[in-house]
Symmetry: C2
């Protein structure tokens, strides 16, 4: 079985400001103690199942230098640039066109993976993806990795599955429906019912399957994909993508295909997945000290507890604090109550209004 992977790395998330910036989004940051960036970790954990030359990264062209720098061993033709962001359905179509053009092998399995999530247990992750590849190889199955929920999270979409097993080993369940982010009451119900998984945004299918689904469900994107595929490797490639891509509808793969297609299966993942959605995620992925503080940098704390303090060489001294997130960078310092991290985007809105783009 020929396995390929498409890593989606075009995100411009604001939740790790001021460490993340428009020109350095989360996937290019190192948030773990090993010093590796999110996209480096994502690639590294794929290598036991996909060869480096079969890993593709689709991103905004602004990030091309960052990807070359952080992944020097990735063939440069495997970096696919979107002229603009157009949500996941056009993004994946662009990737599929490139992969199909190169291999002509439409029975190859294509994994689609986010670039900015973390996995605690890599070998479990690899086993899950191998299993998912096998399910994806059969018929016209579309497979998504669901995450067994730990708690009633209201920030994720959920996958409802039915106890109808697809493969002989009992690994994949038929998906009943995808649901939007629930309120807390619903999320609690979902957690208690054992019929729901978190939607992790990881998908697997044969190239031929997904191309047929685009033809059937998103014909406009399919047409563009076919034209782009034909032009790849010719002098008109770049100009054609530049012309066609921005006109495509901005639509997610979930909404455009997964919620409408048949033969959707999910494999529950229990590999310590984390979407690292805010600074508070550091409490799950880094060790806290005896006072419950997560501390990196040149820090002196006096009577300070339950704080996340991310500094640099500059001295940060804290006195009598609790429950704060403090992030220092060369040109900006954030001090945020832990219950208000969702409001970091208001800082960025304020800066935008004032045209202070150097901080975005």
């Amino acid at each position: 079985m020929h396995k390929t992977a498409l890593i989606m790395a075009g995100g411009r998330g604001e939740r790790f400001w001021p460490r993340s910036r428009k020109n350095l989004p989360k996937q290019f940051l190192s948030l773990t103690d090993d010093g590796k960036t999110m996209i480096q970790l994502t690639t590294e954990r794929l290598l036991p199942i996909v060869a480096m030359e079969d890993i593709y990264i689709v991103t905004n062209r602004d990030y091309l230098p960052l990807i070359r720098e952080q992944l020097p061993e990735l063939p440069s033709e495997n970096i696919i640039c979107e002229p603009v962001g157009r949500n996941t359905a056009p993004c994946i179509a662009l990737g599929a066109a490139h992969i199909a053009k190169k291999y002509g092998d439409e029975d190859a399995v294509m994994m689609v993976l986010p670039s900015d999530h973390l996995v605690k247990y890599s070998s479990l992750y690899q086993t899950t993806l191998r299993d998912a590849c096998e399910v994806a190889q059969k018929g016209e199955n579309l497979v998504t990795i669901g995450i067994t929920p730990d708690y009633p999270e209201t920030g994720y979409g959920y996958i409802k599955f039915v106890n109808e097993i697809n493969d002989e080993d009992g690994r994949a369940f038929r998906v009943d429906s995808f649901t939007e982010k629930p309120d807390l009451e619903k999320a609690k119900e979902y957690l208690a019912s054992d019929d729901y998984l978190w939607n992790s945004g990881m998908f697997l299918w044969k190239l031929s399957t997904i191309i047929r689904k685009y033809e059937e469900l998103l014909p406009e994107i399919y047409d563009a994909m076919q034209k782009i595929k034909a032009a790849i490797g010719t002098p008109s490639q770049e100009q054609l993508i530049e012309e066609l891509f921005p006109k495509l509808p901005s639509i997610s793969i979930d909404y455009g295909i997964m919620e409408k297609a048949e033969n959707i299966y999910t494999i529950p993942g229990t590999f310590g997945w984390d979407d690292v959605g805010s600074w508070l995620a550091l409490e799950r992925i880094k060790k806290s000290n005896e006072f419950g503080n997560i501390v990196d940098g040149n820090i002196v704390t006096i009577n300070t507890s339950n704080c996340i303090i991310q500094g640099t060489e500059k001295l940060i001294a804290t006195v009598g604090l609790k429950d704060l997130v403090i992030v220092d960078t060369k040109d900006a310092t954030l001090i945020c109550d832990r219950d208000h991290t969702a409001d970091i985007k208001k800082v960025l809105e304020n800066l935008k209004i004032c045209n202070r783009n150097e901080y975005l």
Copy 2:
């Protein structure tokens, strides 16, 4: 009447860290909106009553360049350097020796003033000092300026006075006793009784009077003062001060003379005195915005109230905060709960232990 002033500027206070440092203590900082430093303001408000050439500053020799820079019009022979800090009694004796040597005029009045306090109503201050000079000129009076208390402060010493008026205009009251910093209950009693004033550390006397008091009550310091006075202007001046001064007992003028002498008078001051004892003082001396924040620098606040934020060019963004003091400098940032400003010194202790003297 010949009026002279001795400004004491040797303090090494730590309460304005990280803005104040060992090599830049509070008296050399600008904490008001006018951009002037504390010692500049102290000098400026004296000029309507004392000529610049009659103002003396006694300080640690490390601060000589700062004083020359901040007060370029002060004659350089009016800067008196202590080789080491030895509390106020030796400090004032050293100043008195210099002033007595220059003028020979022992009937001159000498005002002794801190360098790092603020006054809101300068003309009231000047009137009070002029009145005090008149009282000080009579007999062997020692005069101290007391501050009419606003609230039961436990951080100051108090002066108990009796309703026995010294001068015909009814301005000066006889001092009954000086008291140590009280506990809150005592402070409330003092406030209610109307018999107590805050001890501001401002003193006035004739040169001849204070020299006689040293002879009587602090003979060891008196002897050194006489030897130093004789040597001033000779080649041995510096060496003699270097030799004698460090051996003097470290004793305050309050304890050494004021609490023991007769003829102590106080004039109540109502000129908006502030000792600017911690970062919280900024709430009294600067304007707060509609959210109760005192903000200087490049600051974005979201849902932030009752905070003191002192920045520089670097952006500071605050989200969901209240009741904090945030002070940014080039190499260090302090974030401190407003009820814990007294613990800033623990940061400095920690830095000392770790030999990180660059931050002290």
